[in-house]
Symmetry: C2
Subunit: 166 residues, 2 copies
Protein backbone atom coordinates (compact mmCIF):
# COMPACT_ATOMS: atom_id res chain seq x y z
CA UNK A 1 0.00 0.00 0.00
CA UNK A 2 3.07 2.32 0.05
CA UNK A 3 3.64 5.03 -0.83
CA UNK A 4 0.03 5.67 -1.79
CA UNK A 5 -1.08 5.77 1.87
CA UNK A 6 1.72 8.15 2.85
CA UNK A 7 1.42 11.91 3.05
CA UNK A 8 3.61 14.76 4.26
CA UNK A 9 2.06 17.33 6.60
CA UNK A 10 3.05 19.96 9.18
CA UNK A 11 4.48 18.72 12.47
CA UNK A 12 2.01 18.87 15.40
CA UNK A 13 2.76 18.77 19.10
CA UNK A 14 1.13 15.34 19.33
CA UNK A 15 3.71 13.98 16.84
CA UNK A 16 6.64 14.66 19.16
CA UNK A 17 6.82 11.25 20.92
CA UNK A 18 7.09 9.51 17.55
CA UNK A 19 9.44 12.12 16.10
CA UNK A 20 11.68 11.91 19.16
CA UNK A 21 11.78 8.11 18.82
CA UNK A 22 13.08 8.55 15.25
CA UNK A 23 15.56 11.29 16.13
CA UNK A 24 16.85 9.29 19.12
CA UNK A 25 17.30 6.15 17.03
CA UNK A 26 19.12 7.99 14.23
CA UNK A 27 21.31 10.07 16.53
CA UNK A 28 22.21 7.19 18.87
CA UNK A 29 23.27 5.08 15.85
CA UNK A 30 25.80 7.82 15.05
CA UNK A 31 26.08 6.81 11.40
CA UNK A 32 24.45 9.64 9.49
CA UNK A 33 24.18 12.91 11.45
CA UNK A 34 26.77 15.24 12.95
CA UNK A 35 24.70 15.53 16.11
CA UNK A 36 25.89 14.58 19.58
CA UNK A 37 24.85 10.91 20.05
CA UNK A 38 24.13 11.73 23.71
CA UNK A 39 21.65 14.45 22.70
CA UNK A 40 18.81 14.78 25.23
CA UNK A 41 15.13 14.99 24.35
CA UNK A 42 15.21 18.71 25.11
CA UNK A 43 18.23 19.27 22.83
CA UNK A 44 16.52 17.22 20.12
CA UNK A 45 13.37 19.29 20.33
CA UNK A 46 15.32 22.53 20.10
CA UNK A 47 17.31 21.19 17.15
CA UNK A 48 14.57 19.47 15.18
CA UNK A 49 11.39 21.50 15.74
CA UNK A 50 11.99 24.64 13.71
CA UNK A 51 10.40 28.03 14.26
CA UNK A 52 9.54 30.39 11.38
CA UNK A 53 10.93 31.07 8.84
CA UNK A 54 11.87 27.39 9.16
CA UNK A 55 9.43 24.54 9.63
CA UNK A 56 9.20 20.87 10.49
CA UNK A 57 7.04 18.27 8.78
CA UNK A 58 6.26 14.58 9.12
CA UNK A 59 5.60 11.81 6.62
CA UNK A 60 2.68 9.83 8.01
CA UNK A 61 0.65 6.78 7.19
CA UNK A 62 -2.50 7.33 9.23
CA UNK A 63 -1.31 7.93 12.79
CA UNK A 64 2.10 6.41 12.23
CA UNK A 65 5.02 8.83 11.70
CA UNK A 66 7.36 7.21 9.17
CA UNK A 67 9.82 10.06 8.89
CA UNK A 68 10.38 13.75 9.49
CA UNK A 69 12.09 16.72 7.90
CA UNK A 70 13.09 20.19 8.94
CA UNK A 71 13.89 23.04 6.58
CA UNK A 72 14.67 26.75 6.58
CA UNK A 73 17.43 29.22 5.74
CA UNK A 74 20.88 27.63 5.73
CA UNK A 75 22.53 30.69 7.24
CA UNK A 76 21.41 34.06 8.58
CA UNK A 77 21.89 37.46 6.98
CA UNK A 78 23.67 37.45 3.60
CA UNK A 79 23.28 33.65 3.36
CA UNK A 80 19.57 33.50 4.08
CA UNK A 81 18.49 33.18 0.43
CA UNK A 82 19.86 29.61 0.40
CA UNK A 83 17.76 26.96 2.14
CA UNK A 84 18.77 23.76 3.88
CA UNK A 85 16.87 20.71 5.08
CA UNK A 86 17.42 17.53 7.08
CA UNK A 87 15.58 14.23 6.85
CA UNK A 88 15.16 11.24 9.15
CA UNK A 89 13.19 8.06 8.51
CA UNK A 90 12.38 5.37 11.09
CA UNK A 91 14.57 2.29 10.58
CA UNK A 92 11.55 0.01 10.15
CA UNK A 93 9.93 2.35 7.63
CA UNK A 94 12.83 2.62 5.17
CA UNK A 95 12.51 1.63 1.53
CA UNK A 96 8.95 2.92 1.26
CA UNK A 97 9.78 6.26 -0.29
CA UNK A 98 9.38 8.41 2.80
CA UNK A 99 12.83 9.97 2.34
CA UNK A 100 12.13 10.83 -1.27
CA UNK A 101 8.71 12.25 -0.41
CA UNK A 102 10.20 14.41 2.36
CA UNK A 103 13.04 15.64 0.13
CA UNK A 104 10.65 16.57 -2.70
CA UNK A 105 8.37 18.29 -0.22
CA UNK A 106 11.25 20.35 1.20
CA UNK A 107 12.55 21.35 -2.24
CA UNK A 108 9.05 22.34 -3.39
CA UNK A 109 8.56 24.38 -0.21
CA UNK A 110 11.91 26.16 -0.65
CA UNK A 111 11.18 26.96 -4.30
CA UNK A 112 7.75 28.32 -3.43
CA UNK A 113 9.25 30.50 -0.73
CA UNK A 114 11.73 32.11 -3.09
CA UNK A 115 14.96 30.50 -1.95
CA UNK A 116 17.71 30.40 -4.59
CA UNK A 117 18.76 26.84 -3.84
CA UNK A 118 19.10 24.15 -1.19
CA UNK A 119 22.38 23.24 0.48
CA UNK A 120 23.22 20.17 2.56
CA UNK A 121 26.25 20.96 4.70
CA UNK A 122 27.37 17.54 5.91
CA UNK A 123 26.16 14.46 4.04
CA UNK A 124 28.01 11.35 5.21
CA UNK A 125 29.68 10.00 2.06
CA UNK A 126 29.17 6.41 3.27
CA UNK A 127 25.41 6.98 3.55
CA UNK A 128 24.75 5.79 0.01
CA UNK A 129 20.96 5.77 0.42
CA UNK A 130 20.98 9.49 1.21
CA UNK A 131 23.66 10.48 -1.32
CA UNK A 132 21.92 8.54 -4.11
CA UNK A 133 18.54 10.02 -3.21
CA UNK A 134 19.90 13.57 -3.35
CA UNK A 135 21.70 12.91 -6.64
CA UNK A 136 18.45 11.52 -8.11
CA UNK A 137 16.67 14.68 -6.98
CA UNK A 138 19.19 16.82 -8.85
CA UNK A 139 21.66 17.81 -6.12
CA UNK A 140 25.35 17.95 -7.00
CA UNK A 141 28.32 17.21 -4.75
CA UNK A 142 30.03 20.60 -4.41
CA UNK A 143 32.95 19.11 -2.51
CA UNK A 144 33.93 16.56 0.10
CA UNK A 145 35.78 17.19 3.34
CA UNK A 146 37.93 14.08 3.71
CA UNK A 147 37.68 11.96 6.86
CA UNK A 148 35.48 14.57 8.58
CA UNK A 149 32.93 12.10 9.99
CA UNK A 150 33.80 9.44 12.59
CA UNK A 151 31.62 6.48 11.61
CA UNK A 152 31.23 3.84 14.36
CA UNK A 153 31.92 0.93 11.97
CA UNK A 154 33.79 2.45 9.01
CA UNK A 155 36.10 4.87 10.78
CA UNK A 156 36.62 8.36 9.38
CA UNK A 157 34.71 8.93 6.17
CA UNK A 158 34.10 12.03 4.07
CA UNK A 159 31.38 14.63 4.45
CA UNK A 160 29.86 15.93 1.23
CA UNK A 161 28.57 19.42 0.74
CA UNK A 162 25.67 19.07 -1.71
CA UNK A 163 23.74 21.78 -3.54
CA UNK A 164 20.77 22.19 -5.81
CA UNK A 165 20.42 25.62 -7.40
CA UNK A 166 16.83 26.41 -8.34
Amino acid sequence: MYPSAMRVREFRESDWPQVWAIVREVVRAGETFVYDPAMTELDARATWVETPPGRTVVAVDGDRVLGTAKMGPNRPGPGAHVSTASFMVAADARGRGAGTALCRHAVAWAREHGYAGMQFNAVVAANRAAVDLYLREGFAIVGTVPRAFAHPALGRVGLHIMYLEF
Copy 2:
Protein backbone atom coordinates in the same frame (compact mmCIF):
# COMPACT_ATOMS: atom_id res chain seq x y z
CA MET B 1 56.69 48.71 14.58
CA TYR B 2 54.24 46.06 13.29
CA PRO B 3 53.92 43.16 13.65
CA SER B 4 56.69 43.00 16.24
CA ALA B 5 54.58 44.72 18.91
CA MET B 6 51.59 42.44 18.29
CA ARG B 7 50.75 39.37 20.30
CA VAL B 8 47.85 36.94 20.48
CA ARG B 9 46.41 36.10 23.89
CA GLU B 10 43.24 34.74 25.52
CA PHE B 11 40.16 36.95 25.44
CA ARG B 12 39.40 38.70 28.75
CA GLU B 13 36.15 40.27 29.89
CA SER B 14 37.75 43.69 29.71
CA ASP B 15 38.39 43.17 25.96
CA TRP B 16 34.69 42.95 25.13
CA PRO B 17 34.04 46.64 24.30
CA GLN B 18 36.85 46.58 21.73
CA VAL B 19 35.91 43.13 20.43
CA TRP B 20 32.27 44.17 20.07
CA ALA B 21 33.36 47.27 18.14
CA ILE B 22 35.19 45.01 15.68
CA VAL B 23 32.37 42.46 15.41
CA ARG B 24 29.79 45.22 14.95
CA GLU B 25 31.83 46.90 12.24
CA VAL B 26 32.43 43.65 10.34
CA VAL B 27 28.86 42.36 10.68
CA ARG B 28 27.20 45.70 9.82
CA ALA B 29 29.34 45.92 6.66
CA GLY B 30 27.80 42.61 5.56
CA GLU B 31 30.64 41.81 3.18
CA THR B 32 32.43 38.88 4.79
CA PHE B 33 30.36 36.99 7.37
CA VAL B 34 27.10 35.03 7.14
CA TYR B 35 25.87 36.68 10.32
CA ASP B 36 22.73 38.76 10.64
CA PRO B 37 23.84 42.38 10.00
CA ALA B 38 21.30 43.46 12.66
CA MET B 39 22.95 41.24 15.28
CA THR B 40 22.67 42.74 18.77
CA GLU B 41 25.51 43.03 21.26
CA LEU B 42 24.04 40.11 23.22
CA ASP B 43 23.82 37.92 20.09
CA ALA B 44 27.37 38.87 19.19
CA ARG B 45 28.67 37.91 22.62
CA ALA B 46 26.91 34.53 22.46
CA THR B 47 28.26 33.94 18.96
CA TRP B 48 31.80 35.18 19.35
CA VAL B 49 32.85 34.42 22.95
CA GLU B 50 33.32 30.65 22.94
CA THR B 51 33.06 28.34 25.91
CA PRO B 52 35.23 25.20 26.27
CA PRO B 53 36.17 23.18 24.31
CA GLY B 54 36.20 26.26 22.10
CA ARG B 55 37.97 29.51 22.91
CA THR B 56 38.30 33.14 21.85
CA VAL B 57 41.52 35.11 21.53
CA VAL B 58 42.58 38.63 20.66
CA ALA B 59 45.53 40.08 18.75
CA VAL B 60 46.70 43.07 20.73
CA ASP B 61 49.26 45.81 20.56
CA GLY B 62 49.49 46.96 24.16
CA ASP B 63 45.91 47.75 25.19
CA ARG B 64 44.63 48.04 21.65
CA VAL B 65 42.70 45.06 20.26
CA LEU B 66 43.60 44.80 16.55
CA GLY B 67 41.67 41.63 15.82
CA THR B 68 40.01 38.59 17.31
CA ALA B 69 39.50 34.89 16.59
CA LYS B 70 37.30 32.14 17.87
CA MET B 71 37.96 28.43 17.42
CA GLY B 72 36.65 25.03 18.46
CA PRO B 73 35.04 21.88 17.07
CA ASN B 74 33.33 22.46 13.72
CA ARG B 75 30.47 20.09 14.55
CA PRO B 76 29.35 18.03 17.53
CA GLY B 77 29.50 14.26 17.93
CA PRO B 78 30.99 12.36 14.97
CA GLY B 79 32.28 15.63 13.48
CA ALA B 80 34.02 16.94 16.58
CA HIS B 81 37.54 15.87 15.52
CA VAL B 82 37.55 18.62 12.88
CA SER B 83 38.09 22.17 14.12
CA THR B 84 36.90 25.47 12.76
CA ALA B 85 37.84 29.09 13.39
CA SER B 86 36.71 32.60 12.49
CA PHE B 87 38.74 35.78 12.33
CA MET B 88 37.95 39.49 12.38
CA VAL B 89 40.36 42.41 12.18
CA ALA B 90 39.51 46.07 12.82
CA ALA B 91 39.28 48.01 9.55
CA ASP B 92 41.96 50.48 10.64
CA ALA B 93 44.32 47.69 11.71
CA ARG B 94 44.40 45.74 8.45
CA GLY B 95 47.61 45.04 6.56
CA ARG B 96 49.66 44.62 9.74
CA GLY B 97 49.56 40.83 9.83
CA ALA B 98 46.95 40.47 12.55
CA GLY B 99 44.84 38.10 10.41
CA THR B 100 47.83 35.92 9.62
CA ALA B 101 48.92 35.85 13.26
CA LEU B 102 45.41 34.88 14.39
CA CYS B 103 45.11 32.17 11.73
CA ARG B 104 48.49 30.66 12.63
CA HIS B 105 47.58 30.79 16.30
CA ALA B 106 44.28 28.97 15.70
CA VAL B 107 45.89 26.28 13.52
CA ALA B 108 48.65 25.71 16.10
CA TRP B 109 46.06 25.46 18.88
CA ALA B 110 43.95 22.97 16.92
CA ARG B 111 47.00 20.82 16.09
CA GLU B 112 48.09 20.81 19.73
CA HIS B 113 44.62 19.78 20.84
CA GLY B 114 44.55 16.75 18.56
CA TYR B 115 42.11 17.94 15.90
CA ALA B 116 42.46 16.22 12.52
CA GLY B 117 42.08 19.39 10.48
CA MET B 118 40.48 22.80 10.27
CA GLN B 119 37.44 23.60 8.15
CA PHE B 120 36.03 26.97 7.13
CA ASN B 121 32.39 26.55 6.20
CA ALA B 122 31.59 29.78 4.39
CA VAL B 123 34.45 31.91 3.06
CA VAL B 124 33.15 34.68 0.81
CA ALA B 125 34.85 34.08 -2.54
CA ALA B 126 35.07 37.82 -3.18
CA ASN B 127 37.00 38.34 0.08
CA ARG B 128 40.38 37.97 -1.62
CA ALA B 129 42.36 39.03 1.46
CA ALA B 130 40.90 36.13 3.47
CA VAL B 131 40.97 33.55 0.67
CA ASP B 132 44.59 34.38 -0.20
CA LEU B 133 45.61 34.30 3.47
CA TYR B 134 44.08 30.83 3.94
CA LEU B 135 45.65 29.52 0.73
CA ARG B 136 49.04 30.83 1.88
CA GLU B 137 48.55 29.00 5.18
CA GLY B 138 47.94 25.73 3.34
CA PHE B 139 44.15 25.54 3.18
CA ALA B 140 42.54 24.16 0.03
CA ILE B 141 39.20 25.12 -1.50
CA VAL B 142 37.11 21.94 -1.12
CA GLY B 143 34.25 23.41 -3.13
CA THR B 144 32.27 26.55 -3.79
CA VAL B 145 28.53 27.02 -3.38
CA PRO B 146 27.68 29.38 -6.24
CA ARG B 147 25.90 32.67 -5.50
CA ALA B 148 25.32 31.68 -1.85
CA PHE B 149 26.36 35.03 -0.33
CA ALA B 150 24.47 38.28 -0.95
CA HIS B 151 27.21 40.92 -1.08
CA PRO B 152 25.96 44.51 -0.67
CA ALA B 153 28.03 45.80 -3.61
CA LEU B 154 28.81 42.74 -5.75
CA GLY B 155 25.50 40.89 -5.61
CA ARG B 156 25.45 37.14 -5.13
CA VAL B 157 28.92 35.67 -4.92
CA GLY B 158 30.18 32.19 -4.06
CA LEU B 159 30.94 30.74 -0.65
CA HIS B 160 34.02 28.53 -0.43
CA ILE B 161 34.36 25.58 1.88
CA MET B 162 38.07 25.47 2.78
CA TYR B 163 39.99 22.77 4.58
CA LEU B 164 43.44 22.07 5.98
CA GLU B 165 44.09 18.48 7.00
CA PHE B 166 46.80 18.22 9.65
